[in-house]
């Protein structure tokens, strides 16, 4: 066998390839540029958004932009506080509702469901993630919002709304179009993401650990709470972060139901807006350099926030799989 024919075989016998076929170099070069291209796309997104947003940052300053609530196209005064708060609050509501539900679903699938039921239920929940967000928007606007305004919101206002202190959160006009509704729709959208990550990490817990816990007389719940959850903490947090990242950047579903009002309220049943919904609604209508720049600045802000959250999610899941590797 001649050496230029087979670098792999050469590497196997002599430690390192001495010569490589031209085809190899070419092919490796092409595939590597594609891979590096992925990095370049990310870099280009950040650079282009920054360049587009610069007029707004120059006029208002970064912190000035982030901390100002006024949004007035006529006087060209733009501040990103209201959409930023709307984004964070609606995503937080989504997490508060979505996290326990996802946890329950993951427990059901991994610990309780008989084998024949695991796959269908898991698939059905994952299909929730496949439905395009515009469909959630249609359903949210025409079906869920009226239903919510008529049946759920009055109940919440009459019970939680009466509480001192936090009662003010549960006030607002009976429209069904509100930050709270957006949060609920987001919750349904992120449940499949969080639940499937939780299911996956729960399944990595070795059967021996489960069995020994059952062996000393633990109930199923105690096994979940005292054995499985402590072992999979990091992975679960990663799943939650992934869901949060999804909720923050979600556009269409939120745009349909959040109401698109540039106002800040304590009441969650008031219409509000989010970064994504503001961009979706106003971008094509924005005239004037500063208006467009302000919208792009919002986009940059959103991209940075979601990037940090998603990077954290990824790091946690990586740590989880590394732990997994050490144990086995």
């Amino acid at each position: 066998m001649t050496e230029e024919e087979s670098p792999v075989a050469v590497a196997a016998t002599q430690g390192a390839p001495r010569t490589r076929a031209f085809g190899d170099l070419l092919f490796e070069g092409i595939t590597r540029s594609a891979a590096v291209g992925v990095l370049l796309v990310l870099g280009a997104i950040v650079v282009m958004l920054y360049l587009g947003a610069r007029p707004a940052f120059e006029k208002f300053g970064f912190w000035g932009f982030v901390t100002t609530a006024e949004w007035n196209p006529v006087t060209e005064m733009f501040g990103g506080l209201s959409p930023t708060v709307g984004t964070l609050v609606s995503s937080l509501i989504a997490l508060v509702i979505g996290l326990p539900v996802s946890f329950g679903i993951a427990i059901f699938i991994t610990e309780m469901a008989p084998p024949w039921l695991k796959q269908p239920v898991g698939t059905a929940i994952e299909l929730l993630a496949a439905i395009p967000s515009i469909i959630y928007g249609m359903w949210g606007l025409f079906v869920f919002a009226p239903f919510f305004a008529e049946h759920i919101q009055p109940v919440l206002t009459d019970t939680l709304g009466e509480l001192p202190g936090i009662g003010v959160l549960f006030q607002g006009p009976p429209l069904g179009i509100s930050v709270f509704t957006a949060g609920i729709v987001l919750a349904i959208m992120i449940i499949p993401f969080i639940a499937s990550v939780m299911r996956d990490v729960f399944e990595t817990v070795p059967a021996e650990l489960r069995e020994s816990a059952f062996g000393i007389g633990c109930t199923t719940w105690e096994v979940v709470w005292h054995v499985i959850l402590p072992l999979t903490k990091v992975g679960v947090m990663g799943g939650v972060m992934l869901g949060l990242g999804r909720a923050l950047g979600e556009t269409m579903a939120v745009t349909f139901v959040i109401g698109n009002a540039h106002e800040l309220h304590w009441a969650l049943f008031e219409p509000g807006n989010s970064i994504a919904s503001t961009i979706a609604n106003e971008f094509t209508e924005a005239d004037g350099e500063v208006y467009t720049a302000a919208l792009i600045a919002l986009g940059l802000l959103l991209f940075i926030i979601t990037f940090i959250i998603l990077a954290l999610a990824k790091l946690m899941l990586l740590r989880m799989s590394r732990q997994e590797g050490l144990r086995s």
Binding site: V38, I125, P132, I135, W221, M252
Partner: protein
Amino acid sequence: MDIYRRRKIVNVFNLSVSVLTTLFGLFFLFWLLWVLFSKGLSHLNLDLFALDMPGPGSETGGLRNAIVGSLLLTGVGVAIGAPIGVLAGTYLAEFGRYAWVSTPVRFINDVLLSAPSIVIGVFVYEIMVVPMGNFSGWSGGVALAIIVIPVVVRTTEDMMRLVPDTLREAAAALGAPQWRVVVDVVLKASLSGIMTGILLAVARIAGETAPLLFTALNNQFFTLDMDQPMGNLPVTIFNFAMGPYDNWHDLAWAGSLLITLAVLTLNIMTRIFLRTKK
């Protein structure tokens, strides 16, 4: 109350809640599907595919131009995104499996997988719509391609890694250079898996609205010219749903049903396929 009974009650209560949460999740899936079918099915007729979008006040109309536009945009998105994704995935799985550059690429790719699609729309607006001076089908296709790439990179790498190393070694032992091993052995063995990944990416972009809002925009008229704003289903649904006319709402529901059926079919198909693969 003794501790044994308390533990049992806690157990039964928590597990019952867990069953309820599962039903809660499934309930929304069926609610969504039921609404889609009950509102959309009656408007799913031939006119939908034969007529173009109605203007304001016009009584008859379909979604022909939007359907054709969506197919074109998705096609362009996949045609640009899939080759790049497959090549990058090949690098991660084969040539650069342990290269230093692969770690950040994998990381960034996974982040891009969940990046907000509206930001990608803004980005493409900046790099294509502004320099070209008008909204266009091409820019919409590029925006979708950026969403396709991470999905395809991920599945390509995963699928290629499923190919056992013994196959690679066998080919190398016969004297094949590495690129022949990759093309003739690894790619061939994982081709169906990679195609599945591409189908998954199609399902992902078929319903994407946000990146098209200010790239492809929308077009009330039939066009095949990718240099012009192009009608597409998601943005049409958005505009019609927000519009004041009842027949617009009906068309929006029909369009929603159409997209959902397409996306769910693709998803279920790929799932069945992937399960037989593993």
